[in-house]
């Protein structure tokens, strides 16, 4: 049954800016739609227009049908309950102080009776696995739990359409994939229709049935996910944000196309296997790659000369690129990169190795006397001018480690040296004068002024805020730059820009220490990586060895190619 139909929707903001043009699409009940597009393409505007209470002000043309009825004709009660909406910032969507009260909030608003509320609240808490924190105050929850609570407090209203506007952009990857799995489960088990917009598409695309790509307020493509992805791969702007397996497909099929033509001209025959389907998930990517290799091998056995064939290409891919995000490497050839890297390593003078920008020596830190150690025996050294990245799960102590390096929290034992000098020996504000700077996780704490290049910082998108905050931080001319989750809320294009900027800074001699969940980004930018677990460094090595050696904490591409290409 058709649940949602949008016909010729046009929308212009009250300042005259045209945000959406000629949007038409429809969704069946129980389908999951992924909305993608660059920043400012009108994703949020479209999603908000679908929820009547949140419709932005402006001129709207066109009709939105929900369950066969015009959106305007719905009663207040229906409009509130039929469509659920979850936004980006987990913290600000929570209204009350207790988890159970938050779950009941929507039901209180629509005047449901006590006993009915109790039943529905307890039922939903059970389904979402929230029993153990049902009585807790909302302030004590983790980011992932907060967003799960927001989802649950919307689902308790029993909507038939669930809209998610970048629900996981502020979450770490593990919490993000948990949340998406829950959404997918709701979709599958209850036939709820889901519309989700997100910057990171690695996991959302394989989960969704349909895809809608927006650019400058117009639909670029709409339809079955797989076909749309295939179509979008030819568009540079969209291709960078597609899943790794789709990028791999494009790269290899490009080679294979040429190869096949060569084959057919050589042999005048050949197995007409046709093009395999474009893979979307890591699992599909692995299957595709295996088939590809066996096909190439069978072809290659009949071929005497083998120099520049796909086999070589695959090998070089494995050697040079499996640890690196394909997107940013597209322009450079893989071989060059490796040579460049080796040259860099050889070129580094030996004596410089003793010259460290940041050094942690057996640092122990906890926030409460009776509490557990957040950092324990944390030791690592960061060379001058390198980009050092610390990865690790939630609660591994990553943020605490950078806060300690910035002198904001003090360890109870152990030494922290900044440019060879004990951090405690920096007097007053000396540490922050052209020495150390920190880009915190919450970049909104950076903005003191109301004006950034003529715009209010809060009017910028999440990604633009991130880059603006980086500018402000860099204005203090630091020699050691500490970044806490710098890719939060960035889309693929802005991430690439960030990578370039950080590389340029490192060239100028700025030492950069990054803590992040984002493995793809770390693989792209870092010279060395460390894995933090339970407040200590469990492994540290050059990025390439690091990601090739890890099984879970590694890039999607490395997971696809693991064990298949060596």
């Amino acid at each position: 049954m058709e649940l949602l139909r949008v016909e010729n929707l046009n929308f212009a903001y009250s300042d005259g800016k045209q945000a959406l043009e000629n949007i038409s699409f429809s969704l069946e009940e129980g389908e999951m739609l992924c909305v993608c597009g660059p920043t400012g393409s009108g994703k949020s505007t479209l999603l908000r227009l679908l929820k009547r209470e949140l419709s932005p002000r402006g001129t709207k043309n066109g009709v939105i049908y929900l369950n066969g009825r015009k959106q305007d004709s719905l009663s207040e009660f229906e409009a509130a309950t039929e469509v659920g909406f979850v936004m980006q910032r987990p913290d600000m969507q929570i209204v009350t102080d207790k988890v159970w009260h938050e779950l009941a909030f929507g039901l209180e608003n629509i005047g449901v009776k006590q006993d009915e509320i109790r039943r529905r609240v307890c039922e939903i808490a059970g389904y979402f696995g929230m029993e153990s924190w049902f009585d807790r105050s909302t302030d004590s929850l983790s980011g992932g739990q907060k967003q799960l609570l927001n989802l649950a407090s919307v689902m308790v209203m029993q909507p038939s359409l669930l809209i998610l506007d970048e629900p996981v952009s502020q979450l770490d990857p593990i919490a993000a994939s948990d949340l998406l799995a829950t959404v997918k489960k709701l979709c599958r088990e209850f036939g709820i229709t889901v519309i989700a917009a997100e910057q990171r598409l690695e996991e959302l695309i394989p989960a969704s049935d349909k895809l809608l790509a927006l650019k400058d307020g117009r639909i670029v493509t709409f339809g079955e996910t797989r076909e749309c992805v295939k179509a979008l791969m030819s568009d540079e702007h969209f291709a960078v944000s597609m899943p790794a397996s789709a990028k791999l497909y494009r790269k290899l099929m490009g080679v294979a196309f040429e190869r096949k033509e060569a084959l057919s001209s050589h042999k005048r025959s050949g197995s007409e296997s046709g093009n395999p389907e474009i893979p979307l998930s890591v699992g599909e990517g692995r299957r595709f790659l295996k088939n590809m290799i066996s096909e190439i091998k069978s072809h290659d056995s009949g071929l005497p000369e083998d120099k520049e064939g796909p086999g070589t290409s695959l090998k070089s891919l494995a050697r040079n690129q499996m640890w690196v995000n394909l997107a940013s490497k597209e322009e450079k050839s893989g071989t060059e990169n490796v040579e460049g890297n080796d040259a860099l390593k050889k070129g580094r003078p030996e004596k410089e190795k003793n010259d460290f920008a940041l050094e942690f020596r057996e640092v122990y830190l906890k926030y409460e006397r009776a509490g557990r150690d957040i950092l324990q025996a944390l030791s690592f050294k960061v060379r001058k001018g390198e980009i050092f990245c610390m990865l690790g799960g939630n609660g591994a102590g990553k943020s605490t480690a950078v806060s300690a390096a910035a002198g904001l929290v003090k360890p109870y034992t152990g030494k922290i040296k900044v440019f060879g000098k004990n951090i405690g020996d920096y007097r007053g504000q000396e540490l922050y004068r052209e020495c150390v700077a920190l880009l915190p996780q919450d970049v909104q704490t950076v903005f003191l002024t109301d004006d950034i290049n003529g715009r209010h910082p809060y009017d910028l998108s999440g990604g633009e805020q991130q880059l603006a905050a980086l500018d402000i931080v860099l204005a203090t001319k630091p020699r050691l730059l500490l970044l806490d989750e710098p890719t939060k809320g960035l889309d693929a294009v802005l991430t690439a820009e960030l990578v370039n900027r950080l590389r340029a800074l490192a060239q100028e001699g700025v030492t950069i220490v990054i803590v992040s969940h984002d493995v793809e980004f770390a693989a792209d930018v870092a010279d060395r990586c460390a894995l933090l677990f339970n407040g200590e460094v469990v492994s540290v090595s050059d990025s390439r060895d690091f990601f090739a050696g890890n099984y879970f904490y590694t890039t999607a591409l490395s997971r696809i190619t693991r064990g298949i290409v060596k």
Binding site: L54, E76, M92, I117
Partner: protein, 300 residues
């Protein structure tokens, strides 16, 4: 008997309210003695930490109230000494000491009350009476810690960015002011998200809002409520008909021990000792259950 905190908050609230007013209105040395002893024991049983420090404060309050009466009131026939032509009488001193104990017992009672009455329980009581105020309180309780945390985060970030760089008072004040202004912007901008989240879930639609709470009213709540109301009525009747009256002036009399008064004392003891008994019973029962479980394990 279930632990005191498991009773319906409204019943607990009423219980403490009546207990405190009895202690205050009776002005009867026996009842105040009972009150001080039982509330002391309850405060020790219920408090988690910081009791010793509170006792220093209580002692100061006790001494001040005890001294205040003989300094300002010169009634009574037994003159102990004369200061600046003003007689200090034994009766006034005794009355002052009794008032001191009364205040002490109410302070202790309030301490026990505050460990039991967490924010959600208070909210339940007031949310019932004033639904709008209830929601406002819940939102306040949500946003006060959130704002506090954000302020600390902004302070930390700005410190690394060179705020407070001159390290003098004026610069510090300037810094604090800009943090405050940043907080305001942050609050207003992010408040929009909260408002969206509220209206997306139907806040403000034309339907009467209900107020939900997790607390139930059980049979045991009704039982406690009836016992409390019955005993308090009995004692209040005694107070109103001067059956518990103890005169201090002009000469102090012994508190009454008529049959009615004696029943009042027994009832009052029963009421006031209830928190302690509930706590001790809970602890003992728990020890017994876990001990039994342990024995069972050994046997098996």
């Amino acid at each position: 008997m279930k632990p005191l905190e498991k009773y319906n908050p409204a019943v607990i609230f009423l219980y403490f309210l009546l207990l405190a007013s009895l202690a205050m209105f009776a002005a009867n040395p026996v009842m105040i003695a009972i009150s001080v002893l039982t509330m002391n024991a309850a405060a020790v049983a219920y408090s988690r930490e910081g009791l010793a420090r509170s006792y220093v404060f209580y002692a100061i309050i006790f001494v001040l109230t005890s001294l205040a009466n003989p300094v300002f009131s010169h009634n009574g026939v037994t003159v102990l000494l004369v200061v600046n032509d003003n007689p200090i009488t034994l009766e006034a001193v005794l009355y002052g000491v009794m008032t001191g104990f009364m205040i002490l017992s109410v302070l202790l009672l309030f301490r026990v009350f505050s460990t039991l009455m967490t924010s959600d329980r208070l909210l339940y009581i007031f949310g019932r009476a004033f639904p709008k105020l209830g929601l406002l309180l819940a939102m306040t309780l949500r946003f006060v810690p959130l704002f506090g945390r954000q302020r600390r985060k902004i302070e930390n970030t700005q410190r690394t960015l060179g705020l407070y760089k001159d390290e003098n008072a004026i610069d510090t004040i300037k810094g604090k002011l800009s943090v405050l202004s940043a907080m305001t912007t942050w609050g207003l901008e992010n408040g929009i998200v909260t408002a969206d989240s509220m209206s997306a879930r139907g806040y403000g639609i034309k339907r009467s809002r209900t107020s939900f709470s997790m607390f139930r009213f059980e049979r045991s709540d009704l039982g406690l409520l009836l016992i409390v109301i019955a005993s308090c009525t009995f004692i209040f009747f005694g107070i109103a008909t001067d059956k518990l009256k103890t005169d201090f002036y002009p000469r102090m009399q012994l508190p009454p021990f008529s049959p009615y008064a004696t029943v009042c004392y027994i009832l009052y003891t029963g009421l006031a000792i209830f928190p302690l008994v509930a706590k001790v019973a809970e602890t003992l029962r728990w020890k017994w259950i876990s001990g039994k479980a342990y024995d069972d394990k050994i046997k098996r």
